[in-house]
Homo-oligomer: 358 residues x 2
């Protein structure tokens, strides 16, 4: 079945309003989940409604949080999310980063005591309409092993960077710092397929083609795959994102990050509060006249778009191209949901006294 | 032959003083080159003295530059290097970032009209003694192909991030955003060895094991290696560093970055000025009390150091560990230089009317 994105926005806002969020907070959760669907990242879309709902039922999410700034300087702040849904801390923090950038050139906000915040790109892109470059990162459930280790001490920690252009659409990079997203392993496992070597190791640290290996002590590898191919550089990247998300804010780092699903326990001896994020906004005219920057960015984008493809049928992509094309299509054609997700949404709606998809 | 690092500092300062740099600028060039040797990155050490000398002889470096701030806000600035050696713009820009961070919490400085600046880690580490996190990136000669392309449109653009701890030594990540550094290809080629697949492609975009393929139209790949293993994420990283280095400052981007060696021509139709860098400094107490941050960083480092190794003989490294161990050894034992480098240094000294290694 396909659904109009506006319907999914209304429905999802309805779910989170009914569990107790105020309208703005429910709408923020819905906006980020539906943006993921529109941008073609269904692994971060409506499939998460059930996870978030279960997390709330387990008592791990506070639907009437007192989200507040606990520390600040002219260009920085720390936001405590009070165990809110990640989108609530995310939108609040990114707005604050944008305000600070308007005043001092750049704004940098770390958030703690938060939860899974959806696609990082949503927050980075909030900066674009303000003539700013936006940055968003988060740490996440520990599933990833550092180079030379079998300990799952890192998340698939994504990085998003959005850069405005003039006539060209913006550059929007938004990627997990592992070779593939965890969701793709789950898809291969359901299909009974093996995966390519270079995504996961087994419990002894040997490369594995088993997409279910994470349930048998295996771990995902960092970008680069193995040491010979630079996995230590991927480890550095993922570690830097963990440090920016957790150490500036006082959230949990690495192995202590709470799982985004209710069926996995929260780690013991947590050194911080909840999940951590980090947001940045940089006014382009804090560096050079805004139009000059935008024109130069058009030049960058057109130059890279003109790069010679290796194969005739390939084309060199600008980060953000595939997502923008997906969004154009899905806004017109609607968003297709798989039956299992539709069933989940119907069951949740029934529990909350309304209906899905009628 | 091995040489005391202090001797190499004096000698290198002597070389660049004799070509016309003032003492501070010559000492800055020497400090960064010798720091690279001490940290075990000889590809960025004394071997570059000849490259820099030749670049000066070709007229591409201005040894009496008017380095100045051309744009600024409370938390940002743009520095024009006036075609200086990269270290001159680098040290000046990082100092300014640190000053701005002291005043407003964070400082962000983009530099243009510069040249090769050596190891990025040197600048990031300048922040540590100020209770700050330091960041440094630069773009570089185009040798790297975007995913799906055969066009060499990107450099091996490095990222360095330095984070202070309390009792533990600092976390210092400093890495090129490609699977290997270009220098390693040159070493394999000289030895007549093939390289592993996943470092370079041939001129048609097919994986190659030929370390000399760059001279036959080939290109280095981005971190991840191929699309299946996430090279598009490496492309995003490398592209973001290019944009931060060139677009904020008005330097040349991607394919237009001038080569760091005199025997390669400067690209035509350059849209900007020289090579670009980008520096950041973030006061840790702009986010939380400095000691609390430092203690948490000790906890982070000790946790990751305790990760279980995959093999008995392996150990999980904290970024910065190998370099610090190298530095301790080389400060005591001296720095070994290969005969070709020694010959270059002797020849340069003779041209400048002094001697090397007497």
């Amino acid at each position: 079945m396909t659904y109009d994105h506006k319907y999914l926005l209304d429905f999802t806002t309805g779910v989170f309003s009914r569990v107790g969020c105020n309208h703005d907070d429910a709408a923020a959760v819905a906006a980020v989940l539906v943006a993921a669907e529109l941008r073609g990242h269904s692994s971060h879309g409506m499939i998460r409604v059930r996870e978030y709902y279960e997390l709330w039922k387990s008592g791990r999410v506070n639907v009437s949080p007192d989200v507040k700034v606990v520390h600040e300087t002219p260009s920085t702040a720390v936001v405590d999310g009070d165990r809110c849904f990640g989108m609530v801390a995310g939108v609040r923090s990114m707005r604050l980063a944008i305000e600070k950038a308007a005043a001092t050139g750049t704004g940098w906000v770390a958030a703690r005591n938060s939860n899974h915040f959806g696609i990082a790109g949503y927050y980075a892109m909030m900066a674009l309409e303000h003539d700013m470059v936006g940055i968003a990162v988060t740490n996440a459930n520990p599933l990833v092993v550092p180079t030379f280790s079998v300990s799952r001490f890192l998340g698939t920690n994504p990085l998003a960077v959005a850069v405005p252009a003039l006539e060209e659409p913006p550059f929007v990079a938004d990627f997990a710092t592992t070779p593939i997203a965890r969701g793709k392993l789950a898809v291969s496992e359901k299909k009974g397929e093996k995966v390519a070597l270079g995504y996961v190791n087994d419990a002894d640290g040997n490369p594995s083609d088993d997409p279910g290996i994470l349930r048998r002590g295996g771990g995902m590898v960092t970008l680069g795959g193995d040491h010979q191919h630079g996995s230590h550089k991927g480890y550095c990247m993922t570690a830097v994102i963990d440090i920016f998300s957790a150490l500036f804010s006082g959230a949990n780092f690495g192995p202590f990050v709470p799982p985004s699903v209710a069926y996995l326990p929260v780690p013991e001896n947590q050194p911080g509060k909840g999940t951590g994020h980090f947001f940045g906004a940089m006014r382009i005219d804090a560096f050079r006249p805004a139009n000059e920057f935008r024109e130069a960015m058009d030049h960058w984008i057109r130059t890279f778009r003109s790069a010679k493809p290796a194969k005739k049928e390939q084309r060199v992509l600008i980060p953000g191209d595939p997502e923008r094309e997906a969004e154009k299509r899905f806004r017109q054609e609607g968003i297709a949901l798989v039956p299992a997700v539709v069933d989940d949404l119907k069951a949740i709606a029934a529990e909350l006294g309304f209906e899905f998809g009628v």
